[in-house]
Assembly symmetry: C2
Homo-oligomer: 264 residues x 2
């Protein structure tokens, strides 16, 4: 059954807006996916949306995006301006969905030693976290661990940047180096803006934890605390700005994939 | 001399807001850099800002960001809330600068055959264009050509993503395949989401035009119209979403750099 909402003060719409806050997302273990591509990706991954909101000015009740939803999903038609006010996008989408966060993923869900995984230390921009989720899933990184202080992978911009990969890649949040160290020794390869060896001169096959830090704060002393470690730096043109952390991650994951496919 | 502005209707502030529109940026050949990092990068590149606006609530007139500017730069102190209203950022910066666009870059300013350059076809997101500018400058791509319909490299998000590379990398806008074809034959390597050879199995040394398209619209028939062409695809995990175009670009540029440095 599709309900029609006309008041922005309706509790279901209030929840959508409340979920713009990380604290609320974390407490309720929910997040908002904006747009039909993300809703499709969630459905394809077997996720049952808690609620779906359609723009009544652009979609009718028979539209497949609203009609073909599981019984347990609450479905609403909402006037366009009211739905737009609940969206974080400048060009509001036709559908918004409230979804359960995957997981919670824990160490019991992932492989040790990682083969491979990536540890993000201080990546504070949600778009970068989302792009790294997408690149990791595409290039064979099995899971991600996010250090405390990283951007929330369920931030609206992270969810958009990750595309459907939010639903498939295990992401462990709030992971400290100490937590990792209790899991046993693992080889680490950390990307740094300068001072490391080119990644193609370092063995990126076999069990491995890749470490990516933010450009501003660097990596700190993460490597040696977990086991044998190496620093890699993608050689850059003289005088150029360093690579964005998501670009550096894509380049490193791709080089790892090259080595692994070539080693077969 | 530093002037104090108190009205949002001041013409200088009106210009900052007007420059949020691509049309105005293009006509006046100006753009806005938000934040002191970008202002510093512009200064380091020898750019004379047309105007700099400081947040009077956070900076005094003796602050070096306002005091050490060229004679030709108009400098203003503005109440924080009024400056914030002229910013596109959720967390408004302490300084905004109106800068002349570099160039205009034309074919006379760049090398043919390109060694190497990149052609962006249908990359509509300003953040992706900016990230590609930054990655290109860092990884040895000499210049960029943007097809009509690409995002404006002087969009606020593009400028932020490019960091200082906006000031160093020649970017030719509104370039059609026909325009390129008149410059003579060139070898092209186009990245596609599927169906191409792994980039590490294709020669990426020597004169070369890399072609990157948006994930949605693909590349069209760009390759063969310019000369010998090859399609590359970064091999991805089964069932994964394709890579973001800026991530794919970083991976491709990095692989090119590996081949070029290894071939020395």
């Amino acid at each position: 059954m599709i309900r029609t909402l006309t008041s922005p003060r309706n509790p279901a719409l209030k929840e959508v807006r409340a979920l713009q806050a990380k604290k609320v997302r974390r407490e309720r273990r929910l997040f908002v996916a904006e747009g039909e591509d993300l809703l499709d990706a969630a459905r394809a991954a077997g996720v049952t949306p808690r609620a779906v909101f359609g723009d009544a000015d652009r979609l009718g009740p028979a539209d497949h995006r609203l009609a073909d939803l599981p019984e347990a999903t609450a479905v609403y038609l909402v006037p366009g301006d009211i739905l737009a006010a609940a969206s974080t996008l400048a060009a509001p989408p036709r559908v918004l969905a409230v979804l359960p966060q995957p997981g919670p993923w824990g160490f019991a869900d992932v492989d040790f030693p990682p083969d491979p995984a990536a540890f993000l230390a201080g990546v504070g921009d949600p778009g970068n976290v989302g792009t790294l989720v997408r690149s990791a899933a595409a290039l064979g990184v099995g899971w991600l661990a996010l250090a405390p202080g990283s951007a929330d992978p369920y931030h609206p911009r992270a969810v958009r940047a990750a595309m459907g990969s939010t639903f498939s890649l295990p992401v462990l949040s709030g992971v400290r180096v100490e937590d990792l160290a209790t899991r046993g020794e693992m080889r680490t390869v950390a990307a740094a803006a300068e001072g490391g060896r080119p990644p193609w001169e370092v063995d990126l096959t076999g069990p491995l934890m890749l470490v990516l830090g933010s450009e501003r704060e660097g990596l700190g002393d993460l490597g040696g605390r977990l086991g044998p470690s190496e620093i890699v730096t993608i050689p850059q043109s003289d005088g150029a700005e360093s690579l964005n952390v998501a670009a550096a991650g894509a380049a490193l994951f791709s080089e790892m994939r090259r080595q692994r496919l070539s080693a077969r």
